[in-house]
Symmetry: none
Subunit: 401 residues, 2 copies
């Protein structure tokens, strides 16, 4: 269902919604036929919630597709990630918590190496260390061009963010300067429509200045830009679901994607107790709470099955305190699977549970991938979870007469 | 997910994929509550593959829709048959293995009967026998018109294929001449855009000649044309999934639909051993193999439950030899259901299994319609199977950052 349809159906309700995201929740068994991380973890409180509520699995993007964090969270917010797409520049800004303003044009930058003939010999400047790259990014940040403010922020290793903040609204259909392979010169900055020519002139000037700043550096003697994009103007989460939403997250990426859909975003420490405290502090001022818990994904990415189990057990111990704060409808799931066995995000469906509101019983008595297969919801798309939670909270009116 | 998106995500992998299509695989019980053909068949090797792998069911086109062979196979190749459509003329050419060239305009022809006033009295010329119709098609094949080569091939009974091969590219938006009911004259050949007028002139000339050739025949004294179409230019299967694909099939229809998506196609005999030999011969030169096994569909179409059981048991006996050749990921399914009880293609979901690559366990221990309902994949669309197989083969990169 389109967001505009959902917005039409949304109606007020006393019942608040808690979306608790255990990042990278879904897993795989270490041995064929064995239990996953979640199935090994002792999670009596999640199990009880699964037993009292209803369960299923979701595909964040599509069958067989491993989601990035951006698309995975957009899906959980109800935004179909195949439809609601953001450029690499905007994602880069989100990832480091750079607040994009409406006129801003963001690009993902790479430090690269050019030889004496101006040909790219390394598109990542020898994967230059963060320590070496950060001062270079600072030097680029000092560049001044006419017609726009420009910002450069170091991201990690060879990666940086460039933001052009023009004085007036400019077209932003700018092609990548990254030639995509070595042995070629960086591409001249091309535009795909004439309205983008003023922005192109600004970026060309910036590139000339950047070349001068980086000239003489042993590795990172030039910058390649790609994914020019502007913060999209989408229906806000608050409009779509008729709620006053707040995101509570320790990492900038997740606050960024929440702000992208118009949520207020609160920074917390990595400590689980602070999630409870921040939720409690906003219990009366807001009626939708997105809580982000990063630890399971990090353990999964590290290929550490045991640690992922422990992160889930740790979350389980604070669950009663979260529930005591009292949002009436609780949705617990992940933005994608991160099986320790693979050490990466994967395409496998993610278990979810919904507690609160009216539904039929399913026989699920534990929160786990295999158990959730037997849940009443079956396998749904990630962007279908929010409508299910909203319905359970009495927040969706009848469609049609 | 769009094919262009999949193409962006596809990445190289050492793992090859075998798509083994048991045509018309899905069935129905003879008595309510009884077993299907597949459930009656003793298939220890398929059962073992289902046990070690993961299972589900797929809908080739849409809920309640019985697929033709073309759409059924397009779905298995990852092409949504609701989006990727071919005209009846092109399907007719595929069905008899006529190799369409890019400029060719194909139409499905029917021999029909006109009365003395030129009104259609039978749109199928009394369902004229193949023996009687073949010489008429040969006579039509001899027609020569200016500006194009023309080809006529008999298909079956009153059906034939007309191909116009113009000297230069011509528009092909030509309307049917079949009036769709008796008591009317054949429709004049109309065009829906002016670029198609040159092709229309050629077809009108051909129709005049055809009327002269058929004049005086007792039943088949005229031809009706419909479904004018050109071979579509779609993204190729190789581009979309980043593989070097080969189709191995005994029947022209299936080689034709494989060629339509750019696969190389190899003709084999009906003998199951030759499927193994041809697969083995291409094990190193290709990394995607589509093997087609026609027998279950033929038995189903004949309403022969026992013979369909036998065809599945026969396939099962050669499965170990196919697996020994060794593509790392194996997908076994059908292009649609052909229950012997109905004697026709049907809309019932088709069981599938995927073996190889990482996944969770399901409790499925036998390959059958009811057992597959408990599989980890649930019920998916037919066009989602290839992304699932590609993911298992490590051939799909992460979507978004």
């Amino acid at each position: 269902m389109e967001l505009t349809d959902l917005a039409t159906l949304s109606q007020p309700s006393e019942r608040a919604i808690l979306l608790l995201v255990l990042d990278g929740l879904g897993g795989l068994p270490l041995e064929p036929g064995g239990p996953t991380e979640l199935e090994v973890a002792r999670t009596p409180n999640l199990d009880e919630l699964a037993r009292a509520g209803t369960c299923g699995l979701h595909r964040p993007v599509a069958a067989g597709v491993s989601p990035g964090s951006g698309p995975g969270h957009l899906a959980l917010f109800g935004y179909d990630p195949l439809e609601y797409r953001t450029g690499r520049g905007v994602l880069s800004a989100l990832g480091i918590g750079f607040d994009l303003e409406p006129l801003d044009i963001a690009a993902r930058g790479n430090f690269c190496t050019l030889d004496g003939d101006g040909l790219v010999t390394d598109r990542r400047a020898g994967r230059i260390s963060s320590e070496a790259a950060a001062p270079l990014a600072e030097a680029l940040d000092a560049i001044e061009v006419e017609g726009a403010a420009t910002f450069v922020r170091h991201v990690k290793e060879h990666r940086f963010l460039l933001v052009i903040r023009p004085d007036t609204e400019l077209g932003a259909n700018l092609a990548d300067t990254d030639p995509g392979q070595t042995g070629l010169t960086p591409r001249d900055l091309h535009v795909t429509n004439s309205e983008s020519e003023p922005a192109a002139r600004i970026v060309r000037t910036w590139l000339t200045e950047a070349a001068a700043v980086l000239s003489g550096q042993p590795h990172a003697n030039m910058a390649l830009l790609r994914g020019f994009s502007r913060r999209p103007s989408w229906p806000t989460f608050g409009e779509v679901f008729g709620v006053n939403p707040v995101a509570i997250a320790a990492y900038p990426m997740y606050r960024g994607v929440a702000r992208l859909v118009g949520m207020e975003a609160i920074e917390v420490s990595d400590d689980l107790g602070s999630l409870v405290a921040e939720l409690a502090a906003r219990r009366t001022s807001h009626d939708f709470f997105f809580l982000h818990y990063k630890a399971p994904d990090k353990a999964g990415e590290d290929g550490d099955f045991e640690r992922k189990v422990e992160t889930l057990e740790a979350l389980d111990t604070i669950l009663p305190r979260l529930l005591k704060v009292g949002p009436e409808v609780v949705l617990v799931t992940g933005d994608h699977s991160t099986p320790a066995r693979l050490g990466s995000h994967s395409w496998h469906p993610v278990p979810f549970l919904i507690h609160g509101g009216e539904d039929r019983a399913d026989g699920v008595t534990a929160f786990g991938e295999t158990a959730c297969l037997g849940g009443v919801h079956g396998i749904v798309r990630g962007c279908e979870l929010m409508p299910l939670a909203a319905a359970r909270a009495g927040r969706l009116a009848k469609f049609g007469a």
